[in-house]
Symmetry: C2
Subunit: 217 residues, 2 copies
């Protein structure tokens, strides 16, 4: 199968989330309509996305939940475990370490590093914060997460690449350079606010204006 | 202009980010190629997105940076300020309060609430954590951010709606119900990991296999 665009990958993630929920409820089949259940996704889009990797629902029955869940799981690379380290033991780093959902999807955060001597040695969610000097290829991390202030982000990215990570997830609000062949994803929380702001602006604009009382001519 | 899909809004956010960067560098014009600079966006997509709201680049010159920045700013509803409150003074809440970028885009976090009596009264980034009982329509919040554990998310969403917010940004890993007319956006950090995992799986699969030494027949 050829390259899938990032928006498609996001939709697959969304379908996967819905499939996990309905599987937990003990359901066997799901309609494209129910899979679509999110603003901006139509059931036609769902059928297009899923047929592109050969998964076809049955008219009137929908998709087989467990079968589809396994297919998307494999496609997203969730049928294996990833060894993840986090750099930055501040608020975002702590939030990431505390979030159990990552381990459920195969992302094992196994180490946390910080440049601040005051933070090194503290225990955070069961992990001892390690000094940056210990970030090396010895640990064979596959994904490195940057949860540092903006100014530190590029040197940290370089250190992660030197330590052999294949992918970098950047939470710092700075554009980073990584060598070809290293995957980089940026998480920009402002974007979520902007998406909300866009939607709110449209709704407000679409609301019927209050009638003005005109004076009789 | 009609409704824009969520992926398009995300791309507009991305273009806006790039335009702010090049404006800061003092550039006047930008090419669609430079605006595209992200995986999954082509310069043809940029031209399509921008022409859809009547912005056309000039061949060989590109787009006028300041003009386009203002246009996207208005479209995304960033030319005004939004009054935001955060519920949950834990790691994610603290990370949000500490992030200066929100205020730069017009999102003013003016209050933070928590159900935990131990947190109430503490000062976090200049704001005193308030008890949930004080969350009311009196403050006229426009956007409410949920940064609580999953089990608390739905009651908090209900409380925010009762307090009159128009939009909800949910960081808790739970699907929420809000009344029609209230905008809801979910931020799922696992999705970013999944996007990376997908990309890494593809790269690994695409790498040329090491040649096997065949025995002579």
């Amino acid at each position: 199968m050829s390259h899938i665009s990032e928006p498609t990958v996001r939709r697959l993630s969304h379908y996967y989330r819905v499939l996990e929920e309905v599987a937990a409820e003990g359901k066997w089949m799901i309609s494209s309509h129910l899979l679509a259940e999110r603003e901006g996704i139509t059931s036609a889009q769902v059928r297009k996305d899923l047929s592109s990797f050969g998964s076809f629902g049955r008219r009137g029955l929908g998709y087989h939940v467990e079968h589809l869940r396994q297919e998307i799981r494999t496609l997203l690379g969730l049928d294996r475990r990833w060894k993840v380290c986090v750099v930055g033991a501040g608020h975002i780093g702590s939030a990431l370490l505390g979030y159990r959902g990552f381990a459920d999807q195969g992302f094992d955060i196994v180490a946390v590093f910080d440049a601040d001597a005051d933070r090194v040695g503290r225990t955070l969610e069961g992990l001892v914060v390690r000094p940056m000097a210990q970030l090396s290829a010895r640990d064979a991390f596959e994904i490195g997460v940057i949860a540092t202030p903006a100014r530190a982000a590029q040197p940290v990215a370089d250190a992660l690449v030197a330590a052999g990570v294949q992918g970098v997830l950047n939470f710092a609000p700075r554009k980073l350079r990584v060598p070809d062949g290293i995957m980089l994803r940026n998480v920009d929380m402002t974007m979520e606010f902007e998406s909300l702001s866009y939607a709110l602006t449209r709704t407000t604009a679409a609301r019927p204006r209050r009638k003005r009382t005109r004076r009789a001519p």
